[in-house]
């Protein structure tokens, strides 16, 4: 199913390095200020080659629903996973 809610989008953007890790917890989602949220969506849209609207439009949500690699997109945030 496509990512259909803001909460799921927050978790997605957090998981792949566009939002701080705290956004993975839905209880913390309200703590994101508007510009952080907007920037995160815009960064994702920019990276994915979508129109940079800053909004969770259908195209953005559809891309978030695609199967993908679990390594974080953003350089500098994806290398925190440690092997052992």
């Amino acid at each position: 199913a496509p990512v259909s809610t803001t909460t799921q989008a927050e978790m997605y953007l957090s998981q792949f390095g566009y939002l701080p890790a705290s956004a993975r917890n839905p209880a913390n989602s309200g703590l994101q200020d508007k510009s952080t949220w907007l920037n995160a969506i815009q960064e994702f849209q920019n990276f994915a080659g979508l129109n940079i609207t800053g909004e969770l439009d259908d195209e953005t949500l559809k891309l978030m629903s695609l199967p993908r690699c679990g390594v974080r997109d953003r350089v500098g945030t994806g290398d925190s996973r440690s092997k052992r």
Binding site: A48, C69, K83
Partner: protein, 388 residues
């Protein structure tokens, strides 16, 4: 492309699969993993050696949910796999809740995802080029894989361009450095088609290329012989298609139909076009099973099927698609024998019929086998396969 910032200081790397997926055979997984590494050794001096025990540079595991690295997998869909950059060890983990498949449009293609993950293992981050292997989103099964220039530039920026000639290896297929992209392993060149030129089927692709199928192999034909590098395996050229095909044709919709026994398959180019096989009786009502030959005849663009001493004309636009007056005797096609092996509307406008080691050229306007010197039938081996 984007680089993470770390790379291996050696170019001869080792790997092992320490936990195999539950739904695939080990030998198949080994082959696909080998092919996936070969993607990265094609344009660099990197080598990858498979080990089964002891320490290795890159450890590969198929695991589910939480698996010890703090980054749990999420079940089918979503995250398919992840890998560690060189500075963190290079290991690659695949979510075993996915339906990993090989050479099939169903499920998730193991080769493609593994090649992507090994890019991370070598130091590549995600690319923002959607055509790149290192783009983060799975783009569906691609029967013919081609490493994007973006990926090539990325890996060469870390490990340099290839300087050595490729060495044969039993771990994975190695392809020539002269070829611009990875292609499936070829069957060694042989002249078996010259010794026994009876073929299963012949057809033209939508692009006008002519292919001959025989057993589990196929030949790409030039105007007078077989193109270099053939035969190749049908299973590699048309993933999901079995060998020993009875009949095939490409229709005006650009799709190629293959028939075997009671079933048929539809392909768009080299990719299966949906869920196949299906029963001939369902998709081609009125056409018998176990066909001898099929073709789209240039005279009227309709589909003709041949079996034994009879033929059927099929018009998908009509209901029923086969008129009650069919089947009719093949003898209506003056000079064409019964029990054909193949029929082909060739790019020169002629229709050709094949039986045993001989073929017949049919003159559509006169509706009879052509008169020429030397006479028809002629030996297929010489005229079609370039045999001496």
């Amino acid at each position: 492309y984007a680089l993470q910032g770390s790379r291996w200081r050696v170019k001869n790397l080792t790997y092992k699969v320490s936990k195999y997926p539950k739904r695939l055979k080990r030998v198949d997984v080994d082959a696909e993993i080998g092919r996936a590494f070969a993607v990265w050794s094609e344009d660099t001096d990197l080598t990858f050696t498979k080990k089964t025990t002891g320490p290795v540079h890159i450890e590969i595991k198929f695991v589910e949910s939480e698996h010890g690295d703090g980054d749990a997998f999420d079940g089918q869909g979503g995250t398919l796999a992840h890998a560690f950059f060189p500075v963190f060890g290079g290991d690659a983990h695949f979510d075993d809740a996915e339906l990993w498949t090989i050479g099939s449009p169903r499920g998730t293609n193991l080769f493609q995802v593994a090649a992507h993950e090994f890019g991370h293992s070598l130091g590549l981050s995600h690319s923002d080029q959607s055509s790149a292997l290192m783009a983060p989103f799975y783009r569906g099964f691609e029967p013919v894989f081609r490493l994007d220039d973006d990926d090539k530039a990325a890996i060469q920026s870390l490990y340099g361009k290839k300087t050595s000639q490729p060495k044969p290896s039993n771990a994975y297929p190695v392809t020539s450095t002269l070829r611009p992209s990875y292609t499936p392993p070829k069957v060694p060149l042989d002249d078996s088609i010259c010794k026994d030129s009876k073929i299963d089927t012949l057809f033209n692709s939508a692009q006008g290329e002519t292919y001959a199928f025989k057993g589990d192999k196929f030949y790409k034909l030039t105007t007078d012989s077989v193109e270099e590098g053939y035969p190749q395996l049908i299973s590699k050229g048309w993933p999901g298609l079995p060998g020993n095909i009875d009949a095939a044709f490409t229709y005006k919709n650009g799709k190629t139909y293959f028939f075997k026994g009671t079933q048929y398959w539809r392909f768009q180019g080299r990719q299966m076009d949906g869920v196949y096989p299906k029963e001939i009786s369902e998709g081609f009502t009125g056409i018998p099973d176990h066909l001898d030959a099929a073709m789209v005849w240039g005279g009227n663009g309709k589909i003709y099927f041949f079996k034994g001493s009879k033929f059927w004309r099929f018009d998908p636009a009509k209901r029923p698609p086969v008129k009650a007056s069919y089947p009719k005797p093949i003898s209506n096609w003056e000079g064409v024998p019964n029990n054909l092996d193949a029929a082909l509307k060739y790019t020169n406008g002629y229709t050709y019929f094949f039986k045993g080691d001989k073929y017949y050229r049919f003159h559509d306007a006169r509706f009879a086998v052509d008169t020429a010197t030397p006479a028809f039938p002629r030996p297929t081996a010489h005229w079609w396969f370039g045999c001496k």
